[in-house]
Amino acid sequence: MKKLKPEITVHFPNSFDEPFELGLFKNMLRIRRLEELCAELYTQEKIRGFLHLYIGEEAVATGVLSQARAKDNVIATYREHGHALLKGLSARSILAEMFGKRTGCCRGRGGSMHLFSKEHRFFGGQAIVGAGLPHAVGLALASEWLGEDRITFCFFGDGAVAEGQFHESLNLAALWKLPVLFCCENNFYGMGTAIERAQSQTNLVEKAKSYKIQGLSVDGMDVDAVVNGTRQALFWMQENKGPFFLELKTYRFRAHSMFDPDLYRSKEEVLQWKQRCPIEQKKKTLRQKGLLNNEKLLAIEKGIQDELSDAKTFAEASPFESPEDLYQFVYAGDGL
């Protein structure tokens, strides 16, 4: 098991109030339950294509996006159901999309890897590793140009760091001092390739520094640490007007995708990480603080179950796009 080095001591302010803390817990659980449902629906062949689960990594999206406002931009990868959900897309529109239905957020065109919502400023759902980073640079350029107070949150994996587009984007963002929060979800693997076999320098904050980008590494299994790290980053960005690099050390409990035989890591390694489950950890501290008891927990689970079974019913009942609409949306505007 890779040990998380305590490089950064994140300071917990007392400003975490009860509803906020419970919200973090609930949101992590929403992602978990949504993902579990997706896995089940996948085995039932209701969801098809590639499916990449976020189970184990929930603290990252939850902690970071707890600090995002509706007006902020978010870009994520193909492992983005949780990010989409927390940015405001309804479970209905997400599930319906994965069912390929007309009521899906992308009317069935995108699927699991391509969730988009203009309304919620959720710009993908990008299945080409690294290709979202330049988009984040451009979105930030636009908001700065238009005088809009927006942060662009850009999520990507440790694997993406090796791509040329990572390099080009970090340089552009730093050169032009753009408000992009680069959120690197370091789960120590890009598919089956461990970070040590992919990066000559595995300290990713050091890499960011080589672009003169301020960076911070946080424990991505601890949602409070993620919140604090994100607050620190945003505070810095506010003061300094420029990009920031946040590394979130985390782990995926499941295989890379539903096709992955998971041959490249040991059962023990996975097991050890599972003992640091972000949801269980948070549950424990909430209980210790007296903010959570069995009753409350049941109510939360019930609420989530209601949300998801409603979404599932909705997705199942929804119609497919009409075949005549095949040629729609190839060109915007006058229907070229």
Binding site: H114, F116, P134, A142, W145, E168, L172, F329
Partner: protein
């Protein structure tokens, strides 16, 4: 007003920057250097570095940033110095720019203009002499303008800016210094149609970009010998607008295609097969195609000349068809 193709492009750029506050020109050396083909020379001074933005050498990065900026509410004009370097950004152009409107179920649009110089003929060697514009016409979601007249050079940007789609504007290096009268703007003028550059009734000659010039020269020459060629400039390569081509072939029953793409799989193959299908019974002779010879473009002048479509070859083909 008599102006050069280069000046016409610049007029278009100046107008775009003046009229549209959310438009800007961005790319390698568009500013301080003045544009590698001097198209944007002076615009940095006129509009400032906010509107005319130099970038590092990062084609994927700044094309992708253009996509992001378009998603964020701007209408960027991105210059990729030459079409050769567009390969470095092709993933962004295809998998993101061209597909995103569709993948998002119509929610997002990518109003992005990608200008690039194209074409061979200046002894720049294989890596700097590609003409990929016809090849790119394979990709749904893209709009591709290949202005070949002064008028098109002047107004294509205006039409591109009306789009909410990614538009490639390919400017052939062999046209930049050409001068011609810029006609008054006609209300019926549109880039969304091909353009009959010379009327005739014996052979329909279809081309685009700088090769239209060569076709026109041959048509002028043959006219004096009472051979009548109709020269059609495609002008927009995707979505293809072939109505005028079909009308013309209905009249001439003969089709000659001239294209700077390598013969195999160039855009002319597509036009040819469509005409062959539509006029199965009425063509008077097989369709002829003149493409780039299937070699990487060589540096040496005589070899480069041999590689590219030339007037002699076009003339020969035309005569052959009328035999």
């Amino acid at each position: 007003m008599r102006i050069s193709y280069r000046e016409a492009l610049k007029l278009g750029l100046r107008e775009a920057l003046t009229k549209n506050p959310n438009t800007f020109l961005i790319g390698e050396d568009v500013g301080a250097y003045g544009g590698s083909y001097a198209v944007s020379k002076g615009l940095l001074k006129e509009f400032g570095p906010h509107r005319v933005r130099d970038t590092p050498l990062s084609e994927a990065g700044f094309v992708g940033a253009g996509i992001g900026a378009a998603l964020g509410g701007l209408h960027p004009i991105v210059e990729i110095m030459t079409i050769n370097f567009s390969l470095l950004a092709l993933d962004q152009i295809i998998n993101s720019a061209a597909f995103m409107h569709h993948m998002s179920g119509g929610q997002l649009a990518v109003p992005l203009i990608l200008r690039m110089t194209t074409g061979a003929g200046r002894q720049l060697g294989a890596q700097h002499s590609n003409s990929f514009e016809g090849w790119f016409a394979h990709i749904p979601g893209l709009i591709i303008f290949a202005p070949s007249s002064i008028e098109d050079a002047r107004y294509s940007l205006e039409f591109a800016l009306r789009e909410q789609n990614p538009v490639l504007m390919v400017e052939h290096a062999q046209l930049l210094n050409d001068e011609d009268e810029l006609p008054e703007k006609n209300t019926s003028y549109s880039l969304f149609s091909s353009n009959i550059r010379k009327t005739g009734d014996q052979i329909t000659v279809v081309s685009f970009g700088a090769n239209v010039k060569k076709c026109l020269a041959v048509a002028d020459k043959l006219e004096k010998q009472n051979l009548s060629l109709e020269v059609i400039d495609l002008r927009i390569l995707r979505p293809l607008q072939l109505e005028l081509v079909f009308e013309s072939v209905k009249k001439t029953h003969r089709l000659l295609l001239v294209d700077e793409g390598w013969l195999t799989g160039n855009l002319s193959a597509e036009i040819g097969i469509r005409v062959a299908e539509k006029f199965f019974d009425s063509l008077k002779c097989p369709i002829l195609r003149i493409g780039k010879k299937e070699v990487p473009v060589p540096y040496s002048k005589h070899l480069e000349d041999l590689t590219l479509p030339q007037e002699e070859g076009i003339e020969l083909a035309a005569r052959e068809m009328l035999k």
